[in-house]
């Protein structure tokens, strides 16, 4: 068969995910903003950093206030490390090769993951002394430490640069996490056949091998039985509205028309499944179940959903309920 379509997809939430951090993580992040690493002393005396709301071994609560909170380090020791040869721009804390390491701050019994900026994998060893390099602009985030740096024998850690808090600044209550992932998605063989059809002004379906059912825009199987559908058939670009809704919410997508508009399921002539489409060419309050509609094809046909702009009434009499009752 001809080449399968692929598309480049980006998964990204505008502005990043906003997360509430709660009082325990919030206190740790507030301390980072102040240029301090804080941990908590657990019931058995171990000091946990970074702190969680619970003892990771016993699940006992960790109180957000009290004298079990202790200031640690800021210097620490590398417990294990690996070298990142190709930093990911916009994601990794540094734009040059660096080490990821588990670092145990002085006074702690656990380690925290962070970056070590030491130039080369030859410059880092297990047990090496390191200290945080603080950002001047801190916001209550794990990257308020830009990276950790090697600490020579007898050398004192650099204190965090002074930072003037905003007047109305309170404890850290949340973080924003941008997430961006990229994909090259394959449409698959059946969907490629369907998309190719759209570019030719046809709606391609497939017939189930063990029944006469025809699925418009088939994904390659009879969804009732799981059997592969290989027999291609063309279905008509006319059909019947089975069910619909009037949309009164603006801005649902960039492609959405002005409100109010109608989204509908359409049982295409010659198909045994329904097809999603917008209904136009009729006042929204006159759209009804059983309405006969026809595809309004775009002037420029492409192998994607923009080839069918909307569906409009054919003017034929409505289909009887019996015709579509099994497709609701």
């Amino acid at each position: 068969m001809a080449e399968t379509f692929t598309a480049h997809h980006v998964l990204e939430y505008p502005g990043g995910y906003t997360r509430s951090v709660g009082p325990v993580i919030g206190r740790f992040l507030t301390a980072l903003r102040d240029g301090r690493i804080e941990g908590v002393r657990l019931a058995d005396g171990r000091v946990l950093v970074p702190p969680t709301e619970y003892d990771p071994v016993t699940s006992q609560d960790v109180a957000p206030e009290g004298d079990h909170w202790v200031t640690l380090g800021p210097a620490g020791r590398v417990e294990t490390w690996t070298w990142v040869r190709e930093p990911r721009p916009g994601k990794h804390p540094l734009d040059r090769p660096f080490a990821f390491a588990l670092i145990r701050p002085d006074g702690a019994d656990t380690a925290m993951l962070h970056a070590v900026d030491c130039g080369s994998p030859d410059a880092i060893t297990v047990g090496m002394r390191v200290a945080p390099r603080w950002r001047a602009e801190r916001r209550g985030h794990v990257t308020d430490i830009e990276a950790w740096v090697p600490l020579a024998d007898g050398e004192e850690p650099q204190p965090a640069p002074l930072r003037v808090p905003a007047e109305d600044e309170g404890p850290v209550t949340g973080i924003v996490s941008p997430v961006r992932l990229e994909y090259d998605v394959t449409a698959g063989e059946a969907t490629t056949r369907y998309l190719r059809g759209l570019a030719e002004g046809r709606i391609v379906g497939a017939r189930a091998p063990s029944s006469d059912d025809v699925y418009a825009a088939s994904r390659g199987t009879d969804p009732r039985t799981g059997e592969p559908t290989t027999v291609e058939v063309e279905v008509r670009d006319t059909g019947v509205v089975t069910t619909f809704c009037v949309v009164n919410i603006p801005g649902l997508s960039e492609l959405a028309p002005e409100i109010p508009y109608v989204s509908a399921q359409i049982l295409l002539d010659g198909a045994d499944n329904t097809f999603f489409g917008l209904i136009r060419g009729i006042p929204v309050d006159e759209v009804r179940m059983g309405l006969r509609v026809r595809a309004k094809w775009a002037d420029e046909l492409k192998p994607d959903h923009t080839s069918i702009e909307w569906w409009e009434p054919t003017g034929e009499p409505d289909a009887p309920y019996e015709h579509y009752k099994d497709y609701l």
């Binding site: 294990t80 390491a101 925290m112 998605v185 394959t186 698959g188 994904r219």
Partner: protein, 351 residues
């Protein structure tokens, strides 16, 4: 406990599936497993799958996955956003209730679609870890160094695991990395994620796998030598790698103990080791000795169809038992960074 067995297994994997969608990859695998089970599709009592929406970057992959199964008349169905080994665990529990006598379990995923190693960063803690974007390989490498440091083993030990995996994979049609390689040649390659080299890291793999489970007499009637699940256990460790002892796998040890791995000889073990050091670490935690063939399929270093890799371990052990090549075997599945969660399944044939 009710006797439950694996009665069929089907599996396909390639480095990069060029044309088929996830659904189209599942179809032949599910059909093969169901046909080989001798149980009619409409008679299967429960269906459970494992997949990960982030692999494709689209929502509800498992819903479209059902197009490959046949869900009419409506079926009893469930899904885990985990490796399908945990879907098998859920199906095993369903069979224990006595409500159903058979189950179809399948897993699927196309790791080649996105950047798998980066995607897996998102399963880490969202406050302290994910904002730094450590990849799954970075995290594994931290464990590898901690393990080597604590045990005195070295990169040659890792290369020996990788070389054996690639040689074993010569006989595995689903392997995407195989070869008659020797340790010195492997060690000549550059370190890419200190202390790991590319051969220590499971290859990117697209694939799907399916298993049919049956209980008691049904299993005996459809399969000449069912692979009976004698025990299945899983344990999890704390979330943060910094609070764990990365030099050993305590969750595997406890699961193995609860499953009674050491109560008899282990002919074969298939381990969900996506990195060379993980195989060594797991074999120790499971208490495996020299008499056990470890990852005779080549293991995940030969093919790593994410979300099926653990289920494939169970299928590979079951297949050898059903074929009469083994009597008692252990399958292991893992989830989370640095072997955070581990499932151990003891399978046995009966003559």
């Amino acid at each position: 406990m009710r006797d439950v067995a694996v009665v069929s297994f089907a599996y396909q994997a390639v480095a990069k599936e060029p044309t088929r969608s996830e659904v189209e990859m599942i179809v032949p695998v599910v059909r093969e497993a169901v046909a080989a089970s001798g149980i009619d599709r409409t008679e299967i009592g429960f269906t459970c799958s494992g997949s990960l929406d982030y692999l494709q970057g689209g929502p509800f992959a498992f819903v479209s996955g059902l197009d490959a199964v046949g869900a009419w008349p409506p079926i009893r169905e469930s899904h885990v956003e985990m490796d399908a080994a945990w879907a098998l665990y859920e199906a095993w529990v369903a069979l224990q209730t006595g409500e159903v006598d058979s189950a179809l379990v399948y897993g699927f995923g196309k790791s080649s679609t996105g950047d798998l190693h980066e995607i897996m960063s998102l399963q880490t803690d969202p406050y302290y870890l994910a904002p730094l974007w450590p990849s799954m390989v970075d995290l594994a490498a931290l464990q590898a160094r901690a393990y080597l440091d604590a045990t005195g083993r070295d990169e040659k030990d890792l290369a020996e695991v990788a070389a054996r995996s690639q040689r074993n994979a010569l006989a595995n049609p689903a392997a995407v990395r195989r070869g008659d390689v020797d340790v010195d040649a492997l060690l000549a390659a550059p370190v890419t994620h200190d202390p790991l080299r590319d051969h220590d890291i499971a290859p990117i793999t697209d694939g799907a796998a399916a298993v049919v489970l049956a209980a008691g007499d049904l299993a005996r009637s459809v399969c000449a030598r069912p692979a009976w699940i004698r025990a299945i256990e899983h344990r999890i460790e704390p979330h943060s790698p910094g609070v764990r002892d990365l030099t050993r796998s305590e969750s595997t040890r406890l699961a193995a103990q609860a499953a009674g791995v050491g109560d008899g000889p282990v002919d074969v073990a298939e381990l969900h080791a996506q990195f060379s050091h993980e195989e060594l670490l797991l074999a120790e935690a499971l208490g495996l000795g020299g008499a056990t063939a470890v990852n005779p399929s080549g293991g995940p270093l030969a093919a790593n169809p994410v979300m099926s890799t653990g289920l494939v371990r169970i299928g590979e052990v079951a297949r050898r038992i059903t074929a009469g090549e083994a009597t008692r075997g252990v399958a292991h599945a893992s989830s989370g960074p640095c072997l955070q969660q581990n499932l151990v399944c003891v399978l046995e044939g009966q003559d």
